[in-house]
């Protein structure tokens, strides 16, 4: 893990300029230029600015995220959202990176208490889900939104953020989240949104879900000797032969860099991702994707700090 060698066709400075030029007056960023400010793109843009050392824009962005923090410590999708949600992962990463200690602490506690619906399932529900979808619904993970089931991607995103913020990997929610991810793997390799089966049918894995799940397992120090990890790396490796979206490619770079078996592919993936940069410095004129690409191309340790490596 760590900085990747500069590539001739990539301009991190132009990516940063694109991010700075598209900060909204409220200090936040939307997914697209001019779009309403939201927590996920704002959190990632702040991480990119921090890495690029731009303090003025950072202060306004941090204020936007602080405005999203509720009394309970919850963070929703924007300041008007009455509930906490999955986007809180990005706020935690940003608070941690920017040294907003008190906000970070309140949000971390809220995330650790942000429950999925597993406790609401009756034994009969759990048995029925095990029959139809072949996963253990009693395992606690994180939901996308309040009062709903735990799924692979929000669970993985919260593991990445909590571990990056220094929460011990022995923390029970992180351990349970890892168990959920391992339990939800698609048998032939990889992950999807969180249903390995639907009745008799094995459902297909997807690149984005697999990459985010693997990055979380890397952050939680799950070894690549675990069959689910090895199968996930193989799934991503095979998928690289085909068409992959910008965001999925960025997550794939982060995921494969997290394991020795995948790290050898990092340089090629980074070059491929860099090749997607547009003339205006952006990636698809999407601020989340531009900041994610910036981060994984400059230093993956900004998101996933493998013990003993990185920062």
């Amino acid at each position: 893990m760590g900085p990747i060698k500069p590539m001739p066709n990539l301009s991190l400075a132009r990516a940063l300029d694109f991010i700075k030029a598209n900060q909204n007056p409220d200090g936040g960023w939307g997914y697209r230029p001019g779009g309403d400010s939201l927590v996920e793109p704002t959190g990632l843009c702040l991480l990119a600015l921090k890495a690029g050392g731009d303090t003025a824009a950072m202060a306004k962005g941090r204020d936007f995220l602080k405005a999203c923090l509720k009394e309970s410590g919850a963070v929703g999708i924007n300041p008007r959202d009455p509930e906490g949600s999955w986007m809180a992962y990005a706020a935690l990463l940003a608070f941690d990176a920017l040294g907003a200690g008190s906000e970070e602490s309140r949000l971390r506690d809220w995330i650790l208490g942000f429950e999925d619906a597993s406790s609401r399932f009756t034994p009969a529900d759990i048995k029925a889900i095990a029959g139809d979808y072949r996963y253990d619904a009693s395992i606690r993970g994180w939901p996308w939104t309040l009062n709903t089931t735990g799924w692979v991607e929000p669970t993985a995103l919260f593991i990445i953020a909590l571990s990056r913020a220094g929460v011990p990997l022995t923390e029970k929610r992180i351990k349970s989240g890892v168990d959920l991810i391992l339990d939800r793997r698609v048998p032939s390799g990889g992950w999807n949104f969180g249903n390995p089966y639907s009745k008799l049918h094995e459902l297909e894995a997807s690149v984005m879900s697999t990459a985010i799940a693997l990055a979380a397992l890397g952050a939680a120090s799950v070894p690549e000797s675990r069959p689910a990890v090895g199968a996930g790396i193989r799934f991503l490796t095979l998928s690289l032969a085909g068409d992959i979206s910008t965001a999925s490619l960025a997550w794939t770079l982060l995921a494969l860099e997290s394991f020795p078996a995948g790290a050898s592919q990092a340089a090629a993936i980074a070059a491929r991702l860099a090749g997607l940069q547009a003339a205006d410095g952006s990636f698809r004129r999407n601020l989340f994707e531009t900041s994610l690409a910036f981060i994984v191309l400059s230093d993956t340790a900004i998101l996933v700090r493998t013990p003993g490596k990185g920062r």
Partner: protein, 339 residues
Amino acid sequence: MTKKPMTRREVVRVLGTSVLSALPAAALAAGRQQSVKGSVSGPLLQVALVPCPDYGPENLAAAIRAGWRSSRPPDVRNKRVVIKPNMVDVSSDRPIHTDPRLVEALVLHLGDLGAREIILAEGTSHNRDSESLFRRSGYEALSKRRGIFLIDLNYDDISPVKCVNPRATLLKELYLPETILSADILISVPKMKTHKLAGITLSMKNMFGILPGMKYGWPKNTLHWNGIPLSICEINGTVKTHYSIVDGVVGMEGYGPVMGTPRKVGVLVMGDNALAVDATAARVMGVDPAHVDYLAMAHKIKLGSLRREDIAVIGEKIEKVRADFVLIPEYSLLRAPKG
């Protein structure tokens, strides 16, 4: 000077979302516009059932023209039209999503009719990688070829709108994408499919895809916890679908909406009332619409009608094109008797 009616976005802008939210069935208000008053003598609703043997451009164009003429289509001249296809996922060997050739034929038809702006918009519900799905589905190429906008509703700007019938704790209000709120005309173009959790999925169920994943998650699990029939009715009661075209050229039977098998029917089902279109498409599938929970609930709360006597079917006779879709055992009781 004639004052033009406000679009939904303008209503939001002028009144503000808080004011709008305070108005039950407010100006976007779809529920009331979509509803049909009680008992009548003779059919109130009109649905076109049009043969379309394949996805050839000439056949599609002719079928859309014929169906449009013989139903009660919206006036799209100088309007901002949003097409909502069905794309829960994409597969190379299963017809999960609305065929892009049908969508393209509709785009051309709307252009001929003078639509000011055409937008293809979807909020995928399982896989949130819309860049990949839009490419694999053929929608991205279509949007470039025809110069129309392609919008990922999962990450659009959103505004809260109070449900017209907020019976559940989870959906007292709906967060709706600006693309939907600002549409003058919304056209739902679903695939004719069976559904493992709802029995069948057609125009009304297709509206799950207008709710943004960034607020409702993937697979929009809030709607499942709220109850699928109730969620479908609340969404359709709050947001008006002005027209529906069911892609029944090749549908999906068995373990839909993703893992089923192709079923060729060779029809389009078209009309301005989503419930009547769905009820007619259900009959084509060999399903009794009165046995489908959400259709029965929609009928009960007057989002239209599913009764045969309330719907004039123009074009083919249902019995002539009826293709009994394979139903999974849980839904075998949905089967309509023949004759």
